[in-house]
């Protein structure tokens, strides 16, 4: 179950400050990296919600993100709608598609769920890849940027754009954390741990899982909107299953079921990628080694492992002080 502990809040704020400084003190290229991190972090948060709390390891989250980006681009660039309602349509499309996938797969678990989501994701990918109207494999340009000059923000300024992106990341985290602490989120964890007992307690678990997927689609949709606004160009690459796979790597690297972990994981993965690729083309191998190490070290992920150490330190401290370990547990739980 999710608890927004002090340690999690501090880590998240520290990560955001780090990203903001990296962007403001760095070059244009540094800002590109930060935006890349933001998009991946939001997608990973959305996936953590499903996989970490609901036990639904989805391989179609990239596709859901892509659906939002395409729906937004179709409405604004093809049909000439204003940007704001187009963005809402983009989010709505992600919610509907994700909810439908959740509804259809609600009675499958484990490998079958993974395969079903993979199939749905690849269907969406193929659809956009083959669609001539939407540019097919060439992708689709002609998307215009949000004009926020009315509130004094110049979106074409890369630093402003990055800061706004960080704001959306904070929003995505905040919304997800709120929902995971709520009755809805905790019940999702309960379904993951023991679905039959949850049914016996009167919870319609299939509908609950579908709703969780729909909400997760909303968060993934936010990532899709930033992706479309960032390059003003989108391609079917967004929907390909390896995008979902990368998000899954990020979640596992950072710490499944922690919400902060995905943010840390995204920072680590993207920074490693850019730093190591300066020296060798085999940067994937290095990330692979790090991932193998994290999994073998207990599978808690980098953030999850640190949290685990801190908790064991604290409980040892409590034991020696002979204190009652009252109150809520301090996180680090995978359910």
């Amino acid at each position: 179950m999710f608890y927004q502990t002090k340690f999690r809040s501090i880590t998240l704020i520290a990560a955001l400050i780090f990203l903001a400084s990296y962007a403001s003190f760095g070059s244009y290229f540094a800002r590109e990296i930060v935006v890349e991190i933001i998009i991946l972090a939001i997608l990973a948060i959305s996936l953590d919600l499903c996989a970490g709390f609901g036990g639904m390891v989805s391989l179609c989250h990239g596709a859901i993100m892509g659906v939002a980006a395409y729906a937004f681009a179709i409405m604004s660039a093809k049909l000439g709608w204003p940007l704001f309602p187009s963005a809402l349509i983009g989010l709505l499309a992600a919610v509907v598609v994700s909810g439908l996938v959740g509804w259809v797969t609600a009675r499958t678990n484990g490998i079958f769920f993974i395969m079903a989501t993979l199939a749905f994701g690849q269907m969406a990918y193929t659809f956009f890849f083959k669609s001539r109207w939407l540019g097919g494999d060439d992708g689709m340009g002609g998307i215009s940027r949000f004009d926020l000059s009315a509130i004094g923000l110049e979106m074409n300024n890369s630093l402003t754009f990055t800061y706004l992106g960080l704001g959306v990341l904070l929003l995505a985290y905040g919304l997800t954390a709120m929902v995971m602490r709520s009755g809805f989120g905790r019940t999702l964890s309960g379904i993951h741990v023991n679905e039959d007992r949850m049914k016996a307690l009167g919870v319609n678990t299939a509908a609950h899982r579908a709703k969780a997927m729909a909400f997760s689609g909303f968060i993934a949709g936010l990532a899709g909107l930033i992706a479309a606004q960032h390059t003003l160009y989108i391609s079917p690459e967004l929907l390909i299953w390896t995008t979902s796979g990368e998000a899954l790597i990020v979640v596992i690297l950072g710490g499944l079921g922690t919400l902060v972990g995905p943010v840390i994981g995204a920072i680590l993965l993207i920074l490693m990628k850019h730093e190591i690729s300066d020296y060798t083309d085999y940067w994937h191998a290095f990330i692979g080694l790090v991932l193998i190490f994290t999994v073998l070290a207990g599978g808690r992920g980098v953030f999850g492992q640190i949290e685990y150490w801190l908790n064991s330190l604290r409980s040892r401290h409590h034991d020696t002080d002979n204190h009652q370990t009252a109150g809520k547990p301090q996180g680090g739980d995978h359910a």
Binding site: D196, G202, T205
Partner: protein, 248 residues
């Protein structure tokens, strides 16, 4: 309150429940007795909706509920505790009760408020923890809790939904005499607006709490009566207790 008419359940050629009829009045404590394989747990599956009957009808407060699934029946107020612990193993006892309380209070679909801080949910957790004597163990993870505590939680989860009809499948299975006494007291203190069906092998407990006793054998009802009648009944002795006396 609970009316069962001509209930049957076949698994292939095996008749696990045969033409069973039951009538339980509101607030009654009904003990179900019977040797292993008599169909007691299957009966609970049929009542809770986790198995579909082959034949027969089930009425709760006059409403036919045969067509309803387990979720809908739970919402109508049927709760169940299991013979084998069926808990949220990786969560704490508090979190287990939180899930049950949130579901019962209609908070399991609320998306804004932190359910662990919700006053109604907290109050319900404290009440149930008190009732099943787990107030001091609330922050223990279920997976590391003692077997006795887990049995208590098993009943606690069912009680936390404030059911109208409580189905308890051998709540004392595998626990010692102290714990059996504790369950005995718990059952005596349960408010009478809860109707209780209980499968129990401990004879003192069974005869102590029962208003009426139903005895099953090979899926059929072979006897029904007060505890006194049951004690004196020769068929029951033969089938269930054996000729040697009160041995479960």
């Amino acid at each position: 309150m609970l009316e069962v008419k001509g209930l049957s359940k076949d698994f292939g050629g095996l008749h696990v429940i045969r033409d069973l009829s039951l009538s339980v009045t509101a607030g009654e404590r009904r003990v179900i007795l019977g040797p292993n394989g008599a169909g007691k747990t299957t009966l609970f599956h049929l009542l809770a909706g986790t198995l579909k009957p082959s034949k027969g009808e089930i009425f709760l407060d006059g409403q036919p509920i045969k067509a309803f699934d387990a979720v809908k029946r739970a919402r109508l107020g049927i709760a169940r505790s299991y013979q084998k612990n069926n808990l949220f193993e990786t969560l704490t006892i508090r979190e287990n009760l939180m899930l049950a309380a949130a579901a019962a209070l209609g908070k399991s679909t609320h998306m804004v408020k932190d359910s662990s801080r919700h006053p109604d949910i907290r109050q319900r957790i404290d009440e149930i923890a008190e009732q099943v004597s787990l107030a001091d163990q609330l922050d223990q993870t279920v997976g590391t809790a003692s077997y006795g505590n887990r049995r208590q939680l098993e009943v606690g989860l069912a009680l936390a939904t404030r059911p109208k009809l409580l189905l308890m499948d051998e709540p004392t299975s595998g626990v010692g005499p102290t714990m059996i006494d504790r369950f005995h007291r718990l059952l005596e203190q349960l408010p009478r607006d809860i109707t209780v069906l209980i499968i129990e092998h401990d004879m003192d407990l069974a005869f102590g709490v029962a208003d009426r006793i139903t005895v099953l054998n090979f899926g059929e009802k072979v006897f029904e009566g007060t505890p006194e009648d049951t004690r004196g009944n020769a068929t029951v002795r033969d089938i269930y207790l054996g000729t040697g006396g009160y041995h479960a």
